[in-house]
């Protein structure tokens, strides 16, 4: 029986500073992250002891130096938030990792709350710059000059499912899901074939099928084996092949369909061989065809379009769920998945309110038509970039949203609440509540631990190897009975 798909996303934002000749991306990121102030939580360390990004899921450890910053640098670069998220500086980009959630509706909520948090910090940080200078942030994945930054999804999986099984079935799913997960991009880069417009930001950057790297020679399936949970029981599948999406509907379907397919892999429910002959080539061919009609070759010699391959996965998912009790959200994901594939078969432009790459394409084409522009025009390239702008008044996605032109999954009020409230049904609840209740005593945090420094006592680390424990149901009573962190630690020992 498949385990619950606890999930989360990590989004790296593009950053630039207008009117600043000495723009330094790293210093700007540090300024940004520190400009986001929650009461008392500014001195908490990120606990690197628990991290191991060099472990490979295929069963080996890669040589290399593990990054461990000193204390001051650690605090300057990491913020753990009361909603259970981590907001930090990753290389030269601000990154927001949302708290662990149990369903795609909450995922949309918390990924969107991340946009709000990052935008708040942008305004605060800009106020600290010399007059005229302004930080600008983009929730996209490419500068269109060959530099890409990531958008990663994480899914909890059963350790008993071998990595080989995952790769075998997931590869063709990930390569073909871009027909509804792409965020759209004008042109191509990284030595890919030229094109006017393509489905994804990221496809041009994938150069190999399976590997540990995330920054060079990017793989379609990443083997990082860092469960951030009990490693005897769990894996955390780190999906790096997606785009940063603006559309709530797209985020919902992206994670919803992927989580379903992963559950099916755990339950051995994919008995069809849909392997692609050349996934690295196929991912670019599919991305570069906005008609979604291009066929790619399967290992068995058959040729199918990405939509047809997705249809096969959907059929398998419908069979899989027919004999199981499913919740309302899963049923809704299946309905949306079906709706989107039907539209893609008829005319992808029917999805101009739902799927990012289509929303963006329709917007750009309307603009081009009225202004008599072509795909090479710098204004068209500007439209592409500004679709992802985080400023509510300038970001073109937000303009479309205000006009009611895009489908919503959650409300603005719910998003605003998620900025300061953790999800209630995962360990993120315990993390967030500890930060709210005992901010002065929380010493360090990681996804699977929280440590307390109380007076002169040795640091006390509480391990949270079970992502579904530490939920409101589990710990509310304990927290209520613990007015101070010392009480909490004592009650935990009892």
């Amino acid at each position: 029986m498949a385990i619950p798909k606890v999930m989360g996303t990590e989004i790296e934002y593009g950053i630039t500073v207008r009117n600043d000749r000495d723009f330094d991306p790293i210093a700007s990121c540090v300024l940004l992250v520190n400009a986001y102030r929650e009461e008392h939580t500014s001195r908490i360390l990120w606990d690197y002891d628990q991290e191991n990004p060099l472990a490979d899921a295929r069963g080996f450890q890669v040589d290399g130096e593990k990054y461990t910053p000193n204390q001051q640098e650690n605090i300057a670069r990491n913020k753990t938030l009361v909603n259970g998220a981590r907001y930090y500086v990753d290389h030269a980009h601000p990154e927001y990792s949302c708290p662990e959630v149990t369903n795609v509706r909450d995922l949309v909520l918390h990924e969107k709350a991340g946009e709000r948090v990052v935008e708040i910090s942008r305004r605060e940080a800009t106020a600290l710059l010399p007059p005229g200078a302004q930080i600008l942030l983009y929730k996209n994945n490419s500068d269109r000059k060959g530099n890409s930054y990531g958008s990663h999804e994480n899914y909890l999986m059963d350790r008993r499912t071998s990595f080989k099984q995952i790769v075998e079935h997931l590869m063709s799913f990930l390569v073909t899901r871009q027909v509804y997960t792409g965020a759209g991009k004008v042109g191509s880069e990284n030595r890919a074939h030229p094109c006017d417009y393509q489905l994804t930001q990221r496809a041009d950057f994938f150069e190999t099928e399976v590997a540990l790297d995330t920054m060079v020679k990017r793989p379609i399936i990443n083997t990082r084996d860092e469960p951030h949970a009990d490693r005897e029981k769990y894996r955390r599948l780190h999906v790096i092949v997606g785009d940063s999406n603006m559309s709530e509907y797209t985020i919902y379907l992206r994670n919803g369909a992927t989580a379903l397919v992963l559950s099916m892999i755990e339950d051995g429910a994919i008995r069809k061989d849909l392997s692609l002959r050349d996934p690295v080539r196929a991912i670019k061919e599919i991305s570069h065809d906005a008609t979604c009609k291009r066929e790619v070759q399967l290992e068995n010699g058959k040729k199918l379009t990405a939509v047809q391959i997705q249809r096969e996965f959907l059929e398998l998912a419908l069979q899989y769920t027919a004999s199981r009790p499913i919740d309302a959200i899963t049923r809704d994901v299946l309905a949306k998945w079906q709706h989107v594939l039907e539209c893609l078969e008829r005319d992808p432009m029917l999805l101009a309110g739902e799927i990012d790459w289509v929303i963006k394409k329709a917007m750009i084409e309307s603009f081009m038509e009225k202004k008599g522009l072509d795909w090479e025009s710098s204004q068209v390239q500007m439209l592409d970039l500004q679709y992802h702008d985080l400023r509510p008044d300038k970001g073109l996605y937000y303009v479309l949203e205000r006009q009611g032109r895009v489908a919503r999954i959650v409300t603005d009020e719910e998003i605003a609440a998620a900025v300061s409230e953790p999800p209630e049904d995962t360990r993120a609840y315990f993390r967030g509540q500890c930060l709210k209740r005992y901010p002065g005593e929380v010493f360090g945090v990681n996804w699977d631990s929280i440590s307390f420094g109380i007076g002169d006592e040795p640091i006390k680390r509480v391990l949270m190897g079970e992502p579904l424990k530490g939920s409101k149901v589990h710990v509310e009573e304990l927290l209520e009975a613990s007015p101070t962190a010392a009480d909490l630690v004592k009650n935990l020992r009892a």
């Binding site: 990753d90 290389h91 509706r105 959200i329 078969e345 309307s366 710098s378 489908a407 919503r408």
Partner: protein, 67 residues
């Protein structure tokens, strides 16, 4: 938990045909005109907020590679 909402939902035809067959040419033309008007309004709004120095802006947007 609140139900998901959709403000726009393209028409679904069980027969896979384009727009509904019950719409006559006049109605379609009217719809087309409305659509065009709406698109014009959108383009105008975008035009107002689009960065002015697009060429320089796009040229200067250079990122260090990330993950």
């Amino acid at each position: 938990m609140a139900e998901s909402t959709q403000k726009q939902k393209p028409k679904r035809g069980s027969d896979g045909e384009g727009t509904g067959s019950g719409e006559g040419p006049q109605k379609l033309a009217k719809k087309g005109a409305e659509l065009k008007e709406e698109m014009d309004a959108l383009v105008d709004e975008i035009d107002e907020v689009l960065e002015e120095n697009a060429e320089e802006f796009v040229k200067n947007y250079v990122q260090r590679g990330g993950q």
